[in-house]
Amino acid sequence: MKSNVLRIAEQDKSSGAESTPVAVATQSTSHSSPPPTDAPTKWLGRDKLAGILRGVVLPFLTFAIVIGVWLLIHTHVVKAIPSPLDAWHKAVEIFSDPFYDKGPNDMGIAWQLLYSLGRVMAGFGLAVLVGVPVGFLMGMSPAFRTALQPLIQILRPVSPLAWLPIGLLLFRAVDPSAIFVIFITCIWPTLVNTAAGVQAVPKDYMNVAAVLRLGKWEIATKILLPATLPYIMTGMRLSLSIAWMVIVAAEMLTGGIGIGFYIWDEWNNLNVPSIIVCIVVIGLVGIILESGMSLIQKRFDYNLR
């Protein structure tokens, strides 16, 4: 099985081009398909078909059950919960014109999402800019690590939202405060993972560097950074997915344009179908962020190449 995966990876490489998406697809199918034993080939096609069918049918069943329960709640428990059909109609309405703009208090869902994403990216980007170098210092210098560790231990378990008032005080504006909260969200996983990655660099690589007489800067860029990249990527991936969760709550508190406040606004208007649409949309955007990050990870993580 392993050699099979390996061979496919090789084929991808020999086919040249940076066709990472293709590589992902082929690899995942080779994982899920049964091991190529000496079974006749006609059965292989059939097995694959069955696998795909199973992959579609089982999740579809789950969705059906959830929608059924939802319908039951709507009809028998809480009437105020809109029916799936209401939600569907609302979705069609919302997505018929996602980019409308009728002033700052009334904008299409696409704008709401883009504003939220903008804040997440700003906070996330800042956290990476600060977290990776500081994490590097922590990994390389025991003194630095000892100095920072207790502070990080105390602050890491705190909900980033607790920092929102501090942000509002510091920046006296809503947008930077939300970005500040996202920064706080992202900084810890980035920092901790980077530091762990630097510490996990095998001694052998450092011996190679020593034999080659690499300088400090060369060691950092040619050995430590590439060796640590998988850890940094993991930290970034974790950060981003948490940030996407936190931004909704942060915007509910700060107001303005953004998917979080949009939900809160719709709640105040008792427009529950939109909220349900938003929940699904936030989930989908989360998936897109996650797969975007894993694409980047595949590109940079030598373990996944």
Binding site: A9, P202, V208, V211, A227
Partner: protein
């Protein structure tokens, strides 16, 4: 007019050193570690002289300090006393003139086969070779170990033996004065090991490198070496015996199996290892 005794002794010492100088020499090496107030002496009074072009094996039981000796020569470890002279200059820091082939190959997994070797070539020949020459030199060394077919492969895509070949190519590409090999074939299966041993003999016949190899394989030591350095067990391990292997080269693995001299050498090493230096029971 009598010269001071001290001065005389010193002169005699210097004279001896100049006249009898070896290519690489280990002088009275002592290696001690202090932990929790207890001093543990790992190596004591290790002396060795190695001529240019010699292939030396160091053999001994696990934990006898073979690797420590190699790391000291490499400059990766500092001695507690004594030192290493290479062409009469003391060496106490790592450098590409003493390239190391590590047991677990230590290739950088994010670099391709070519780039792993090229990194070393770029560093060592930054000033002395042009870009084109560095490229050719990289290819040349990979061809030497028969790995020029896999330039764009990553280490994870290679078998253990192939990785070790690339590791050897990287070390050779540094054009080292001494090639240090730390149980280079220890992690390989018997067939692959035989292949690599043959490759190493070919390369050695070709380039006449000075090689120091750590091994715990008696056959490997006898087949490859000009001399076998047998180490006593620790603590305070030292060189127990040095066996000169006077088998003509090139040596053929199959012919050696029936060769009386070969088997005599082999028995000699075995006797040292299993009669005079029994493995420590707890090991």
């Amino acid at each position: 007019m009598r010269p001071k005794a001290g001065g005389d002794a010193c002169n005699v010492y210097l004279y001896k050193r100049c006249v009898m100088s070896a290519y690489l020499s280990l002088e009275n090496i002592n290696m001690s570690f202090t932990a929790k107030g207890n001093t543990f002496c790992a190596l004591d009074n290790v002396n060795m002289r190695i001529d240019r072009g010699e292939l030396i094996s160091i053999i001994g039981h696990s934990g006898c300090g073979k690797s420590t000796v190699l790391n000291i020569i490499a400059g990766l470890l500092q001695t507690s006393a004594g030192g290493v002279l290479l062409e009469n200059k003391e060496v106490n820091a790592p450098g590409p003139d003493r390239a190391v082939v590590f047991q677990n190959h230590s290739l950088l997994p994010w670099l391709s086969v070519y780039d792993n070797v090229r990194l070393a070539v770029n560093k060592v020949f930054a000033e002395t070779k042009s870009k084109k020459e560095r490229h050719d030199w990289t290819l040349h060394n990979l061809a030497l170990v028969h790995m020029d077919h896999a330039l764009e492969k990553y280490p994870a895509e290679l078998s253990g033996g192939m990785k070790q070949r690339v590791g050897i190519a990287r070390a050779l590409a540094m054009e080292p004065k001494v090639l240090l090999m730390d149980e280079p074939f220890g992690a390989l299966d018997a067939l692959t090991r035989a292949h690599l041993q043959d490759s190493l003999m070919d390369i050695h016949a070709d380039l006449k490198n000075t090689v120091i190899m750590i091994t715990h394989d008696v056959d490997e030591a006898v087949l490859l070496s000009d001399r076998i350095v047998m180490m006593t067990n620790g603590p305070a391990a030292t060189i127990g015996e040095i066996l000169k292997i006077e088998l003509p080269r090139p040596r053929q693995r199959l012919e050696m199996a029936d060769d009386a001299a070969y088997n005599h050498y082999r028995a000699e090493v075995m006797r040292f290892l299993y009669e005079r230096q029994r493995a420590v029971a707890v090991a």
